[in-house]
């Protein structure tokens, strides 16, 4: 508890590693454990505005954060955020660094083998953003070109599988990836279309040439495999919140200022876990 103040993950030591588990994972905390400790540990992005980022005052903000805050409130605990890189989202769960991942986590089969996804609260496809003067409007245009991606994203997996001729330049962090695009280190950048749309809007000279790539994917909270209690709780919450149109409100609060009226909220938001 005497840890440094800026280190979100450091303050609480891993007091919960008592019982050994026979599974491949470090044992997850039960709902009771979380309530008792008064804190739920949630992994979010800290550099992916407007979904998860840190504002001028050092506070976490964004679409995911609003949801996280609400979950905690309904559970009657505080949130302790852990900032993650895209590639670390599975490992923080399997090694029980956090209870829940709310970091724009796209549901895929590979991931579903390692973690348990709750009901979705967003849907996305991949998008590709590129400089206006050298727009990429089709994947075939990327042949032999360099595409920037962030490690551990669905974009990475998709391009590895479906576009072997594209040279991928992979960064650990979104901030680095965007910077690389700005500096002209690659021809385009691909990640979730929501994300690139938001970014292109804010950065002059860049445009999203491909808005829909691959299948429509869903984004959902994830818990450690087998942590049924917590999973059930999150699922119930999503259903309950759907009734009050929570995610639309969340959208208005966090995403609309960025997307403006270019995007129809219903293309992104999923209420009550129902597609």
């Amino acid at each position: 508890a005497c840890g440094p103040s800026a280190a979100t993950p450091s303050d609480t030591a891993s007091s919960d590693s008592g019982a050994t588990s026979s599974s491949e994972n470090a044992k997850a905390r039960s709902l009771d454990d979380i309530k008792k400790s008064g804190k739920i540990k949630i992994a979010v992005f800290s550099d992916k505005a407007p979904f998860g980022y840190v504002d001028q005052d050092g506070k976490y903000q964004g679409y995911d954060i609003v949801f996280a805050e609400r979950l905690a409130k309904d559970l009657g605990v505080e949130v302790e955020y852990t900032s993650v890189d895209p590639a670390a989202r599975v490992d923080v769960l399997t090694s029980n660094k956090v209870d829940l991942v709310l970091a724009n986590f796209t549901v895929t089969d590979e991931r579903a083998e390692k973690v348990d996804f709750a009901k979705p609260y967003m849907k996305v496809a991949l998008g590709v953003v590129s400089p206006e003067d050298a727009q990429i409007t089709d994947v075939s245009q990327l042949d032999g070109k360099t595409l920037i991606i962030a490690k551990g994203t669905t974009a990475e997996t998709w391009f590895e599988k479906n576009a072997p001729n594209v040279k991928l330049q992979k960064y650990d962090q979104y901030a680095d990836a965007y910077n690389a695009l700005l500096d002209g280190r690659g021809d385009a950048f691909s990640t979730d279309n929501t994300e690139v749309l938001a970014w292109a809007k804010a950065n002059k000279g860049f445009k999203v040439g491909i808005t829909h790539l691959g299948d429509d994917d869903t984004i959902a909270p994830a818990v450690q495999k087998g942590n049924k209690e917590l999973l059930d709780f999150v699922n119930e919450e999503i259903v309950k919140l759907g009734e009050e149109n929570f995610f639309h409100k969340d959208y208005e609060q966090t995403l609309e200022p960025v997307y403006g009226d270019e995007v129809n909220p219903d293309e992104i938001v999923v209420e009550g876990g129902k597609l």
Binding site: A6, A7, D47, K48, V54, D91, T94, S95, Y178
Partner: protein
Amino acid sequence: MHGAEILLQPGVFPRLLQGLWVTVWIAGVSVGVSIPVGLLVGWLMTLRNPVVRAIMRVYLDFIRIMPQLALLFLAYYGFARWFDWNLDATGACVLVFILWGGAELGDLVRGALQSIPKVQYESSYVLGLSPWQTFSRVILPQAIRRLLPASVNLATRIVKTTSLAVLLDVVEVIKVGQQIIDANRFQYPTGTLWIYGAIFFMYFIVCWPLSIVARRLEKRWSHD
């Protein structure tokens, strides 16, 4: 140069300093715990017992050959699953730096202990001092003098290596910098340069005095 104003934005500098504090805290705790560990390791390395020696040899060589980044990954992800020993990122960093610092310091301690002339042990024996008196009154005080400059240098290396903690998602000074860069990327497109520049000098400001202290000590104690 425009863009420099980013550093003057409210919240930017204090947050960077907070991040720096995390860096310094990790380094400080690691160095602090490394000292007793290093003393123990160093002492173990001087023992004649072949088994102990071999173990220490492997320990030292492994730590030396593995990049710190690889060790960090092993500790952060590996330990939790293999031994169900769940460390948070900061804990993993501290653990790795202690293992690393302990090994390096241990080797320094061994060197210092062995560099004490045999005649110092012999004089102590002839004067009737007990083995413990010899160690605590004669050998250790001399060893510490030889040890201190190199240990301070090691501390600066540990401070510098904390920069790798960002890759385990510890929110230290670099991560804070990246967050600021991201949050300000619309207003200050050249913020990257200034933020990384500021971080560069923050590390320098922390490490440089240590380097100077090390050099001073080295000079002061070079005569014996």
